[in-house]
Symmetry: C2
Subunit: 330 residues, 2 copies
């Protein structure tokens, strides 16, 4: 059920089999599998999954290529709730490992928040990442285009940018390297530093020899209308016409609640085995937070793998199901 | 485009980037990703993907839990064709490794077949498996229930069998071990050997001590109507009432066309790395044919991984896209 401030006290005295941090594609898929394994599950979601921002999921098998990411999340949440999974809109502040269980402290609500602690035997970190965006004076100007034709994922949207005039927006020198992969799709590439970092001679040479344009002055604003970005106005008032943009500024990793637990990372990503178990035997990581490709279909598969391994763990430890049922075969 | 006997000659003189054997969930997902990477792809499908037989996909994120498997395949094929991928209904007889390319010999049509050879640089084996079913005098009697409530996948359908009277249909002693996992969902388990194999004392003891029933005489027929199996009639005329069945008789692996290529297997499954590359650098395996869980969402993710790795291979080897486009940025 959907838990609220009024009903959550019904759940704070029980131990869930699995608590899932994050209700994006990976967390919802895990929840669906877990409930179907007859394991008790709580998904805690703070909102704003990365896929929520995708206007069109072009590459997810089984759905038309203009399906908004939020439709997948909506269907997945309804599916999960239909299987009697618990779901709470809240922010996970901290996870404490108590040995047999985890204690998970959450904050519910933004204004006048309340706090609660839930307990579970296993934890799935499905809290993902969110892309850094160009920092302009008017951020609404950025949000107007992000997820439309201001893309954040080359694998997802390279096809949409084929033969287009594309602006690449970086945050440091190596972030511009994506231009060489982008050039598979289009040769018309302009790179923007927004005046925030230097580009050394070696990279500058490679960019130039590939025919790319480098613009190092600050960006005043994106131009366009109806969520379609058509170019960039620079600080000096000049205008660069573009058909699309690719933001390559790295990501914020939503894993702060794991700070007290010793886990293996590669960069900001959690390292897992093939069933998505982290270096902690009762913590799994799925979706964008783990090492691997950031794709909705892979996140969904990650959830299935983690849920299945947790079921195997618990089943092997307990033998048969715990709920009271008659013992004799018919 | 959908190739036919009339049009396939237009394609036999070109070299595809990737030939995908099998148009199930894994193959179609790979095809969608490959075409979006601007790689030329041919999917060859003999029909009857395992998911085609699934009446309801209960656990695929983004789709209602009563979605037939064939709907996913239909949507996926339309999606792939909309991206200008080539698709041929045919049977792949043999793959020959020519060094830089593969030559793939196919048979088109059942009566008065024609033959053709296609060439590609990479091969994705997405041809899957199909479950062995109980061998009864009237096989139509089996087909009437298979994929409805005569299940073949515990992970997929354990939830549907919870607390039900379930018959397990095995093909050899170890195939009955699935009953112990099934007992997570229901204690009401009857095992059938169909008179085809012996059960040793050790397993017999474990089955009995778990409260399972073992029936070793031949099965005359399944009983039921409207695709809902309600029990089994045995050779002696006695009837065992059931609510569902679980077939555990192993699978046929569709990999005969790879017989001339030295690949690493684990049982019938191809061994792959995390991007689904086999022990051959230009052959990938995805879906049920590779080691791992047999789930539609995992097959779809497999296709995305293999396609992405092939794109990386080709992109790194070639630098930029091959098609003639103007070189200068706008």
């Amino acid at each position: 059920m959907q838990l609220t401030k009024q009903t959550l006290n019904q759940r704070t005295d029980q131990i869930y089999d699995v608590l899932v941090v994050g209700g994006g594609a990976a967390g919802l898929s895990a929840g669906i599998y877990l409930q179907r394994y007859l394991l008790s599950t709580l998904i805690i979601d703070k909102g704003k999954a990365r896929s929520h921002w995708m206007q069109e999921l072009h590459n997810y098998l089984g759905l038309p290529p203009d399906t908004p990411g939020r439709d997948v999340l909506k269907q997945g949440k309804a599916h999960y709730l239909s299987l009697d999974g618990d779901y709470l809109n809240a922010y996970v502040e901290e996870v404490m490992d108590e040995g047999e269980t985890f204690a998970v402290r959450v904050r519910i609500g933004r204004t006048n928040p309340t706090y609660a602690v839930f307990r579970s035997r296993y934890l799935i970190a499905a809290s993902g990442i969110i892309d850094h965006l160009p920092k302009l004076a008017d951020m609404q100007n950025v949000f107007d285009y992000a997820g439309h034709n201001l893309h954040v994922c080359l694998i997802c949207d390279g096809y949409e940018m084929r033969d287009q005039r594309v602006g690449v927006f970086g945050s440091h020198e190596s972030s511009l390297e994506v231009a060489f992969s982008l050039s598979w799709f289009t040769p018309h590439i302009t790179l923007f530093t927004n005046g925030e970092f230097e580009v050394g001679a070696e990279l500058r040479d490679r960019l130039t020899s590939n025919g790319f344009t480098l613009i190092e002055q600050p960006i005043k604003q994106f131009l366009g209308e109806n969520h379609q970005m058509t170019g960039v106005e620079l600080a000096d008032g000049s205008i660069v016409k573009l058909d699309a943009g690719l933001v390559s500024m790295g990501s914020k990793y939503h894993a702060g609640y794991l700070k007290n637990i010793d886990l293996e990372y590669q960069g900001g990503n959690l390292i897992t085995d093939k069933m998505n178990r982290t270096s902690h035997p009762r913590i799994f990581a799925v979706g964008d937070l783990k090492v691997g490709m950031n794709q909705v279909v892979i996140a969904a598969a990650d959830g299935a793998l983690a849920a299945t391994q947790i079921w195997r763990d618990i089943r092997r430890a307990e033998g048969t199901r715990r709920s009271p049922i008659s013992v004799n075969a018919a």
